[in-house]
């Protein structure tokens, strides 16, 4: 049984890093108590997301899932790494690319899949679909299709916590594209000015739809933008689940200690198209392949094997369990029911009609 004490023991060390601020980190605070259960849990959580989304892509071509479908494949380490550091009391706010966050936050795969179908057994009663996953019981506040639109909301959730004297964290996920929007700017200022307990997690996958970061923002190091609001920020390898967990754990600890907001720029890459309607003419295959080699599942899986934490049979069993969970989720969604058209006007206002 391994008990790793920091990033040096993790596969992350083999990865390229663009991290300039890592030296600020206290090695002691970086300790990650990585026992076998936890390691396997990380892999399993990432695999659940991967398999869920692979299946969603199939279901999309079968027209079971409609509308927009944005896959998180390649970025799983971020959601999984960060969620390890949150408690049930904390809040999560995210984007339209949020299946991974929802699963990692503990939303049941069944109700997620039913939501993808638009069935009333879905986590948003089918009204939301892929881009609007909600689960109040798990303090999962969506799921928004407006880029940067939920950043102010995350600030407000944190403000409510601060005003009510609750030591809770609001984790807010968004892409690097969102950092160009005015709402990013206004939100970071508010969070920093009022020293609010927000963990900003930028998933820098280098593209906003088809627009490469260097063609859309004059400062491509997003964490430096955050620093310009006096927010402690760092960049890290978002393909390395351990690196993410370590950084998030430190950030969350600082936030809980009352040190105000923190900002993580996670370097990552989406392996699939932006949505299901994207011919990907804007990036070349070689780039995609190179990033796939750094895939969060691939490397962490290998490392677990090499470290003797997971053998072939163990992996096969994990896959089988996930396959079973997924099959149950699809069956649940298939068996789900359509909300009556008579209820069309429901939930425009509270308590009506």
């Amino acid at each position: 049984m391994n008990d790793h004490t920091g990033p040096s023991a993790s596969p992350a060390t083999a990865h390229e890093r663009r991290d300039e601020s890592r030296q600020d980190r206290q090695p002691a605070a970086a300790k990650l108590h990585l026992n076998r259960d936890h390691a396997l849990r990380l892999l399993r959580e990432m695999l659940r997301i991967r398999r869920f989304e692979e299946r969603c892509a199939e279901l999309y071509t079968e027209e079971k899932i409609r509308g927009f479908l944005h896959l998180y494949i390649g970025e799983e380490a971020i959601a999984v790494g960060v969620m390890q550091c949150l408690t049930a009391e904390d809040a999560v706010v995210t984007t339209y690319r949020e299946h991974g966050h929802a699963l990692a936050r503990g939303l049941p795969m069944t109700s997620l899949m039913a939501e993808m179908y638009g069935k009333q057994e879905g986590c948003s009663r089918g009204r939301g679909g892929s881009m609007h996953l909600f689960d109040l019981a798990r303090r999962f506040y969506g799921g928004s299709a407006i880029v940067a639109g939920l950043l102010p909301l995350a600030v407000g959730l944190a403000l409510a916590d601060k005003l009510q004297g609750r030591n809770r964290v609001t984790a807010c996920f968004f892409g690097e594209g969102a950092a160009a929007e005015g709402e990013f700017h206004e939100s970071l200022n508010l969070a920093a000015l009022w020293q609010l307990p927000v963990l900003f997690v930028c998933e820098n996958n280098l593209y906003a739809m088809g627009t490469a970061l260097e063609r859309s923002q004059s400062e491509t190091h997003i964490h430096r933008k955050a620093q310009s609001y006096q927010i402690a920020a760092e960049t890290l390898d978002g393909m390395d689940v351990l690196a993410v967990e370590i950084a998030a754990r430190q950030a969350v600890a600082a936030i809980r200690a009352g040190e105000g907001p923190r900002f993580l720029e996670c370097q990552t890459y989406r392996f699939r198209a932006h949505s299901m309607f994207d011919a990907q003419l804007y990036r070349d295959k070689a780039e995609v392949e190179a990033w796939k080699k750094k895939g969060p599942l691939l490397r962490f899986g290998h490392w677990l094997e090499e470290a003797g934490l997971l053998d072939v049979a163990g992996r096969a069993q994990m896959e089988a369990e996930i396959e079973a969970e997924l099959a149950a989720a699809v069956a649940f969604a298939e068996a789900g029911t359509w909300e009556s058209v008579a209820d069309l006007l429901k939930d425009v206002y509270t308590g009506e009609p």
Partner: protein
């Protein structure tokens, strides 16, 4: 025994309503630009910062989208925020938050969350503030499912609608017309909450229904007086709630008077007045003895000089003339 009446301004009535809410409910706080130390751009919140402190009378940076969205988040987090957007003109910067979050979160989440947020903003023209500072965009807000919209025109409503809005589980937008803040009159010392919904007949009459709200109400009442001097008895309806609209009261009035004129400071095309006219068309067509009319603002950005601003806005003589025309008394 009825309570004592106190001479009060609209401004003071709003301030008392805010003070009252802050005292009643620790979850209430007010947030906006210059609401604190400055005392509010229309001096509505003067004194509250000293009384309640900077946490509850929270000055926000110039970032309308940011702090409106923060109000939405705080509402989700269990607070009862009052967000003050200084004027409707700046609310253009916050519309994404209002439409896509405040109004929509309940539905998108399948009914899991409500957004108990109150947004107050000053609206309207009349102070020679020119093209960018004189908007009336109530018509836009009225078109957003998921929010409620009110326009208190009287002291009672200014005093009483805020608390009802805070008790409402859904977002409520309150429009305060800039020309009303200095209006004064007697208000009951124990004036309390009033319901949000329901139009009010401010003057009964049998010849024509004059329908108005907010800052235009007093011009409409003055027009009714002028008409009365000519022997025309106009009924004046104050919409009070702009979303939902109280169709029943409107149609009952039209059924009595058979004629209607809507007075609305919005630009004519796409105005709330148009919506009301269309509803009368749909629900009371057979009661009408003449087409419903509209007195609205001319379709021009509001000019700075007083004579042109006056000419652009609804005025007593234009209301009187329009009413006469509908009655065939030109």
């Amino acid at each position: 025994m009825s309570s004592a009446m106190i001479e009060t301004t609209y401004r003071e009535a709003v301030r008392e309503a805010i003070r009252d809410a802050l005292r009643r409910d620790p979850r209430v706080f007010l947030m906006g630009e210059d609401v604190g130390r400055y005392g509010g751009c229309y001096a509505v919140t003067k004194g509250l910062w000293d009384e309640f402190g900077p946490e509850r009378i929270r000055d926000a940076p110039l970032s309308e989208s940011g702090f409106t969205g923060a109000g939405i988040g705080a509402a989700l987090g269990g607070m009862r925020p009052i967000v003050e957007i200084m004027t409707v003109n700046f609310s253009l910067l916050a519309l994404d938050q209002i439409v896509n979050n405040a109004a929509t979160l309940r539905h998108m989440s399948g009914g899991q969350v409500s957004v108990p947020l109150v947004i107050r903003m000053a609206t309207g023209a009349g102070k020679q503030l020119a093209a960018q500072h004189s908007h009336s965009l109530e018509n836009w807000y009225v078109a957003i499912p998921g929010i409620k919209v009110v326009a208190p025109a009287t002291l009672e409503d200014a005093r009483g609608m805020l608390w009802s809005a805070l008790e409402d589980p859904d977002p409520v937008v309150i429009f305060e017309h800039v020309m009303l803040y200095n209006r004064s009159g007697p208000l009951a010392a124990d004036a309390g909450p009033v319901p949000l919904a329901g139009a009010a007949i401010r003057r009964p009459g049998s010849d024509i229904s004059l329908i108005s709200y907010g800052g235009s109400l007093y011009k409409t009442l003055d027009a009714a007086e002028a008409l009365a001097r000519e022997g025309i008895e106009a009924e004046v309806i104050d919409l009070r709630s702009l979303r939902p609209l109280d169709d029943a009261t409107l149609m009952a009035s039209v059924a009595r008077t058979h004629r209607a004129l809507i007075v609305d400071e919005g630009w004519r095309t796409g105005s709330l007045a148009g919506e009301i006219s269309a509803r009368i068309m749909e629900q009371a067509f057979w009661d009408l003895d003449a087409p419903v009319g509209r007195v609205c603002t001319a379709e021009v950005p509001i000019p700075y000089p007083k004579h042109l601003e006056d000419a652009a806005l609804p005025q007593v003589p234009t209301i009187v003339a329009a009413a006469r025309a509908i009655l065939g008394r030109e």
